[in-house]
């Protein structure tokens, strides 16, 4: 049997499954987004062209949601990569108890997003029931508990929680990358008198370039499409200060039951996630061709 036939034989059922279960919902959503929804006297749909899409564009919450999504994505990706890098660099050293630490750092990743949200909302609670306030109070830094869920900081509490959940994934990838860097390079650099920062900058970072880009793609897609943490921790509030696009879709579809508008908004979300992911993906391909 030829590779081609064998491959098709095995892959076609999988593709059929994925197609039916993905394409059908997409087509339905596409149809819905071109309708106008009338509730009275009964639920009815009439063709409305691009009305829903232009209505979404005029919606101030849509613009706000786009900015919030971009901010959330940028913050979480940056934080996760930084923290993941830190964890990977520590784990790459030889020390007693390394095995234990390696098992430990997997816990946040194994914790679900909504449980992460609940755990972190107990850290950012606005009384000393919150860990952060409790510690600051015990250390004598504050006399009164700080409210963290404010218009300016609510989204950041969610970003930090999401980074806690995602950093281990980054750490796993980066740790793998670190192990491919020849130790000979470090020895040489040390002999040439390069200090730890220069070694990091000139050997570690270039060596990790590929791993860094891969993890950035994955994290970008995850962060841009997430909703669990936002729903659990802030509910998009206060007001709409931390309302991502996904949260707006949820609000319109399931709280206001405006299915058509929800569907149109969904397409903007899908487009945004795809554009973000593909642009990072494209960057990788380009950098690989060059390197």
């Amino acid at each position: 049997m030829k590779d081609q036939t064998f491959a098709m034989l095995l892959v076609v059922p999988l593709l059929a499954l994925t197609l039916v279960l993905t394409i059908y919902p997409l087509l339905f959503s596409m149809w819905l987004s071109f309708q106008e929804q009338v509730w009275y006297p009964e639920l009815q749909y009439t063709f409305a062209g691009l009305t829903q899409f232009s209505r979404a564009l005029m919606d101030p919450l849509f613009r706000k949601g786009t900015i919030v999504t971009l901010r959330f994505t940028a913050e979480t990706v940056a934080l996760s990569v930084l923290i993941g890098m830190g964890i990977a660099l520590v784990l790459n050293q030889a020390f007693k108890g390394r095995g234990i630490l390696r098992a430990l750092i997997l816990l946040p990743w194994a914790t679900s997003e909504f449980a992460t949200g609940i755990l972190w909302s107990y850290i950012f609670k606005g009384s000393t029931v919150g860990l952060l306030n409790a510690i600051l109070y015990v250390m004598g830094i504050i006399q009164k508990p700080i409210t963290w869920i404010t218009p300016g900081f609510a989204l950041e509490t969610a970003s930090i929680a999401f980074a806690w959940h995602m950093a281990p994934l980054a750490a796993i990838f980066l740790l793998a990358g670190l192990q491919f860097i020849p130790t000979e390079l470090y020895r040489q650099a040390r002999m040439d008198g390069a200090d730890v920062f220069r070694r990091f900058w000139h050997i570690t970072l270039p060596g990790l370039r590929h791993s860094l880009l891969i993890i950035t793609v994955l994290l970008t897609a995850y962060a841009a499409k997430t909703i669990d943490i936002i729903i659990v921790m802030t509910g998009g509030g206060p007001g709409f200060e931390s309302s991502t696009l996904t949260n707006l879709v949820y609000l319109r579809t399931f709280k206001e039951l405006n299915f058509a508008q929800g569907a149109a908004l969904s397409w903007y979300v899908i487009a945004l996630v795809l554009v973000l992911t593909i642009s990072v993906f494209w960057l990788i391909t380009k950098s690989r061709r060059r390197g």
């Binding site: 491959a7 999988l14 972190w120 996904t246």
Partner: protein
Amino acid sequence: MPSHRNQVFLYILVIVVAVWTVAPIYWALNLSLQFEKTIFATPTNLVPPAPTDYWYRLILGIPTREQIIMSGGSVGSMTAEHVGRGLKNSLFVALPTSLVAVAISVVSGYVFGRLKFKFKKGFMFMLLASQTLPPVAIILPYFVMFLGLGLVGTLHGLMIVYLSSIVPLVTWILSGFFAGLPLDVERAARLDGCGRLGVLFRVVLPMAAPGIIAGWVFAFLTAYNEFMYSWVLTAGTSAETLSPALTGLFFQDTTVPEMSAAVVLSLLPVIAFAIVLQRYIIELRIVDPVTTIVD
């Protein structure tokens, strides 16, 4: 070379990483082992002054004598019903889903990782693209479709949705893993007259076992931890899984210690899973999907 100072510095970093990782889980544990009286003291106790298993007993339905006497015999809470049922449902969905997903993905992952064929890049890109779909954006069509099929509020319905999103992901992971295995053994077996499927099952699968276990862990965790689909498809029904159950309780202002105990309980299976299988999870690093596409 001040290597002693370096060593101290390294251990400080190790402690920082450990604290950052464990603190949120520790805090929930701390809150769950206290009564509200000590939690709402200012400042809150950083360690439980007199650890109690009251909340765990309440949720698990193992009341103490005092509880039975105090409540006149009827012990139980809303948390107990929801978390108990949710835990059972979640395991009932996650275990079979992850096993089926891995069985399918082993074959498709092998094909993508090992064979050269037309449209491979296109197919792989489709698998990746399907992963970027935000659940919240496609859940409504699923809901309508499942309403027609009578699958809303059933565990089967949830399994189908999970399979459709987990299979592409695990296929992707395993293809990266298969691509990294040495080709020689496989070629030798083929020359010795072993058929295609024979090679797959007798030669390739045993070599790939660690990666397959890693894929299974990944599939299990994804199914167990999923939120949006289960929230829309099962919340409030008898098929309610753990995520909608916990989230519902959280929104209904369940008391802090009871909620904390519920969250800690919900984490036990995944923590056990992660620790027991950690050496396989590290295998996930072999996943380099982008390279497989780009090369």
